[in-house]
């Protein structure tokens, strides 16, 4: 996987609270058996009319925020389903970083697996970044330093060290865990004695 270190770009401001996974990608579009092709349906109810016509100048397709790699949004972003199609869809729109006051747990976990950085900042800092994004300013995010810079603003954010290592290293998580094969076997030998009813055949 590509390494994640820094992102500098304009940002798309989308300061709505409780954006759920059905808004990010409606369930009817989850039928593909591939990991791609979800971007065209991302935020469908915001980008298209019920008849399927593109809504003029919606923030995701309009000229103003074209090329933005950063999405700035509201509290509890990504609540709802565990569908990884949500970060797949967001990545296909070109976003590599999402800034919000808070994220739903499963969604945030799914972002790590897809090389998307979720940055949690206090509401007032997010509000300031929304204003900066609307003014078209560049926002600079450095994962290594755990900082967000913009104009005169400079914010630091907390980030899970394990997830940081994964993003910075572009690691294959399954491959990494398989290196703990001996520990997994030892755990199974122990629990086969303690809870044998959990093993069949």
């Amino acid at each position: 996987m590509e390494k994640f270190i820094k992102v500098s770009s304009i940002a798309t401001p989308f300061p709505r609270v409780n954006i759920d996974t059905d808004i990010i990608i409606p369930a009817k579009h989850l039928k593909s058996i591939k990991r791609t092709g979800f971007g065209e349906h991302a935020f469908e109810t915001i980008r298209f009319t019920a008849e399927g016509a593109r809504i003029e100048d919606n923030i995701f397709d309009g000229e103003k925020y074209k090329g933005a790699k950063i999405l700035i949004t509201g509290d509890n972003f990504g609540c709802g389903s565990s569908r990884e199609h949500a970060p797949w869809a967001i990545a296909e729109l070109g976003f590599r970083c999402i800034i919000a006051p808070s994220f739903a747990d499963i969604f945030a976990g799914n972002c790590v697996k897809n090389n998307i950085l979720t940055v949690e900042l206090p509401q007032e800092q997010v509000d300031a970044l929304v204003i900066a994004a609307e003014a078209g300013h560049q926002i600079h995010i450095d994962l290594n330093e755990q900082t967000v810079c913009c104009e005169n603003a400079f914010y630091e954010f907390e980030y899970n060290p394990t997830h940081k290592e994964m993003l910075l290293g572009g690691l294959d998580e399954v491959g990494q865990t398989l290196q703990s094969g001996a520990a997994i076997s030892a755990y199974e030998d122990k629990t086969k004695m303690m809870t044998p009813w959990l093993y069949r055949g």
């Binding site: 709505r16 609270v17 059905d22 990991r35 509201g74 499963i106 060290p161 398989l178 997994i184």
Partner: protein, 466 residues
Amino acid sequence: MLKTMYDKIWGHHVVEDRGNGMALLYIDRHLVHEVTSPQAFDGLRAAGRKIHRPDSIIAVPDHNVPTKDRHLPNPDPMSTAQLTALEANVKEFGLEYIPMDDVRQGIVHVVGPEQGFTQPGVTLVCGDSHTSTHGAFGALAFGIGTSEVEHVLATQTLQLKKSKNMRVSVTGILSKGCTAKDVALAIIGAIGTGGGTAHVIEFAGPVIEALTMEGRMTLCNMSIEAGARAGLVAPDAKTFEYVKGRPYAPKGGQWDAAVAYWASLSSDDGAMFDKEIVIYGSEIAPQVTWGTSPEDVVPITGYVPQIKSFADPAKQEAVEKALAYMGLAEGQAMTDVKVDRVFIGSCTNSRIEDIREVAEVVKGRKVASSIIEALVVPGSGLVKYQAEEEGLDQILVEAGFEWREPGCSMCLAMNPDKAGAGEHVASTSNRNFVGRQGPGARTHLVSPAMAAAAAIAGHFVDVRDL
């Protein structure tokens, strides 16, 4: 050190402690369905990896399956492709599979408990957020994304950060006509959809102890709507009774050992929780949602709120959008909201007890003529069989309901069951998100009894008044 139930189950499953609350956690049980698994199997194939423990998995199709005319070809080629992919994958990897024509087929979260696959003290995952349902048994159960599905298939573990402990105690007793669904909605109304974020919620108190296993499943099912990673209820005699004798349950001498182990899992007296909430059970009335987030909920005796009654400007904006979408006015009485369609089903409310509750309300009554469609979709073939044994299907059909085959149905508009734009749906499912039941559909979350009452009246009505 005193431990919560979550601390204990977590502790029993740590393969490697990685510091900072991170651990490699062992996963005992894995439920697989057609929507979130194909890319995971592809990942395994691409890397030439095997499934670590096929005996830890049950696969069953549920999201896409039609709930009628199953003898006909599936009308949607994309759905067919997913169902076919699941069949091919379970064959290639040698997994236990319950096909669509098997009486045990149904919604993963109904099937797991029915098969005794769900047990106290296990870690159980599925690529579906409502995996929290299984917490009703004192299992640490949570939804995962597709990359994690692949990770569990290949390694039987997950790299996880331990969540914080939260306890929601529900005191007193529930009044007649109030159910586990009303408790779940009342809790979400009180703490919000982000109230449980980064926490595992243990539900406790006299109301929870008095709930049946079905009720506890309904409650834990919706812990995800409160933002929690998982929900838990301490296993007790009811839990053991439910599990006993089921196909995957411990047998012979192992049964007593298992019960002794399960009984040791409850939180220690005096264990510390990072967050504690108390809800007065006797104050809970039947609930109904008015907006597009499960936290947008009021008692049936209540009214659509005033936008200005919310302090947060972002929430005010969200409420304004929600009311426009829902076609509701500030101050409107919930009992004045007309219902166009009724859906009784989903992993929240499709078990035998739910069907009995509906039958009790509608017996000898008729679905209002203004209702376009009223569906009852049992959660599994076994629930369907049991309901038919009890003659409940007859009562429902005579009242004007359609009695369907098991599946996720109108919970999420991935299969032929959908609601039309602008229609108000009395739904026993778990999410009232924009477009969840079909583009433009207006979902109101309620209990099975309240959905049944709305079907009869043609509008929302207090089931206690019927």
